[in-house]
Symmetry: C2
Subunit: 283 residues, 2 copies
DNA sequence: CGCTTCTTTGACTTTGTTCAATACATGTGG
DNA sequence: CCACATGTATTGAACAAAGTCAAAGAAGCG
């Protein structure tokens, strides 16, 4: 909560300039746009309080929420490297964001390695989150999608120090559905169904996760697993002999200069779209 | 095709060191893994010839292709910023890649701004592609997905100087389906259906795009459009008054230091997962 | 040349969508 | 402060789209 505005702990390089990043605080009321798709990319925005959604629309009027952004997170990363915003950003409730002008960020990042790496990690985090969504959308059932979504929200809240088992959703059923690739009716039905099973309690937008273990069991069915070798069970799939050699040689590069580093590697951490930037970034 | 191995046109900084990035060429036969999920992140790989898929698997055995990688593209970007590979990488056909060891890339990028920015753009490109997939998976029908996929392939080939209207797919129906969130049967049926309509010709893995305009019309239905203000048609949705002020002030930042730049902005380019890195990156 | 894998196609089932009606909150104005 | 209006949520029934199961035909590979 304190680590807001990208420059939060940038004092490591004692610049002071980095703190100047947050040029200005902007207040948005519920439903107000922060920027529109196609607007010149003038700034990134760090959410201070409130919630922002980023979204796009298709030619024929379908709509797609591409991201929800909670306090501590940066809005606009999906447009970095472009000249114009690639999505709309709209406040879901009364919200305060601080503006990080690109004209300040760019030159400053160019001469401040710590800041550059911070931006880099933020972008990497964005990519990770989007990929988690990719798998959610490609191979989860409606139930798994909603459960996974709820757990993401829950973990995001926990990372920010709030109750992770009882919370109020800031977005409508339609927005949830749009985000996880379902219709609002299906979302609503899944909510009811989970409540029937005693896994959660729902009353409109307030949700209580009653049986977290049960929920996690559902989500874990579709969780990415490091165990099986992958798709190809073809006969040729076992031609791993030379591959072994390749991997060994690749690994050799890692070991050559920093053998200790290789040893103290942790497990693959789970990706959570809503807990990424709030925590100190698990890398 | 010539611009391979990340350092392709890095001679701008005359380092020479950048060209040393491609430490080693690795040959893979069809079906061979390049790396496994969980392996220590030792290197990125640039595809020289052939095709690589990156993929993951869930606890209960479902499989998901998260990316196809063609000549000129980098494999492993989804794992940058982590200590271990976040997916499997497997050759779809006999393939040559060159290895870019992280131990070389990291320090070199740290002191070579041109290279750092190159890596940054590659990561940005990866994020863009993943987001294009996100919308594909969330709101396209089976037909739109396959058509969009085919057009991506086609444009990717065109960007690399090959025929964009006739080509041979390197991946199976199952792999296509896994990538675009469908079963292999549905993919096959959609192929047949498109052929029936005279939009394409298919014979197993060789595809000819007969009526590109027709195909594009299908894909455009679900193409992202900058026109409508977005989701919220709520009464409060028109509270754009202060937002206008916000946007104006945000835009002012852009104009302040580089007014000319703002003026020569191009349209939002289309995102194409398979033409991104081959072309010189549309930004 | 024979085996395996991949692709196509058919019949049927499941899942989620669509259309529609009702109920629930919230916030606004009388 | 209450009543009404509006957007939001729930639920039902019919429908459509894609998934599953199954079998047969075509390519590729050893």
């Amino acid at each position: 909560m304190a680590r807001v505005c990208l420059a939060g702990d940038c004092d490591s390089d004692g610049e002071g300039a980095a703190d100047g990043l947050a040029q200005r605080v902007i207040r948005l009321r519920k439903g107000e746009p922060l920027y529109l798709l196609g607007d010149p990319l003038a700034a990134l925005f760090a959410v201070r309080v409130g919630t922002v959604k980023t979204h796009v629309a298709t030619e024929d009027g379908r709509t797609q929420v591409v991201g929800f952004h909670f306090p501590g997170e940066v809005v606009g990363l999906d447009s970095i490297g472009r000249r114009q915003y690639a999505s709309y950003a709209t406040a879901l409730e009364d919200t305060k964001v601080c503006m990080i002008p690109m004209d300040v960020l760019r030159p400053l990042a160019a001469c401040t390695p710590a800041l550059a790496s911070r931006v880099f990690r933020a972008l990497d985090g964005y990519a990770q989150r989007t990929r988690a969504l990719q798998t959610l959308l490609a191979l989860m059932t409606a139930e798994e999608r909603l459960v996974t979504f709820l757990l993401w929200i829950s973990e995001g809240l926990a990372a920010r120090g709030f109750s992770s088992s009882e919370f109020i959703l800031r977005m409508s059923r339609e927005e949830i559905g749009s985000y996880i690739g379902l219709t609002l009716e299906t979302v609503s039905r899944q909510f009811s169904r989970l409540a029937e099973c005693g896994l959660i309690r729902v009353k409109h937008r307030s949700v209580a996760l009653v049986d977290k273990a049960g929920l996690r069991a559902i989500a874990d069915r579709s969780a990415i697993s490091p165990i099986p070798p992958g798709t190809n069970r073809r006969r040729g799939g076992e031609q791993r002999v030379p591959a072994q050699a390749v991997r060994t040689s690749a690994a050799a590069w890692a070991t050559r200069t920093q053998p200790a580093t290789a040893a103290m590697q942790a497990d693959n951490p789970k990706i959570n779209p809503f807990a990424w930037e709030a925590g100190n970034g698990q890398q």
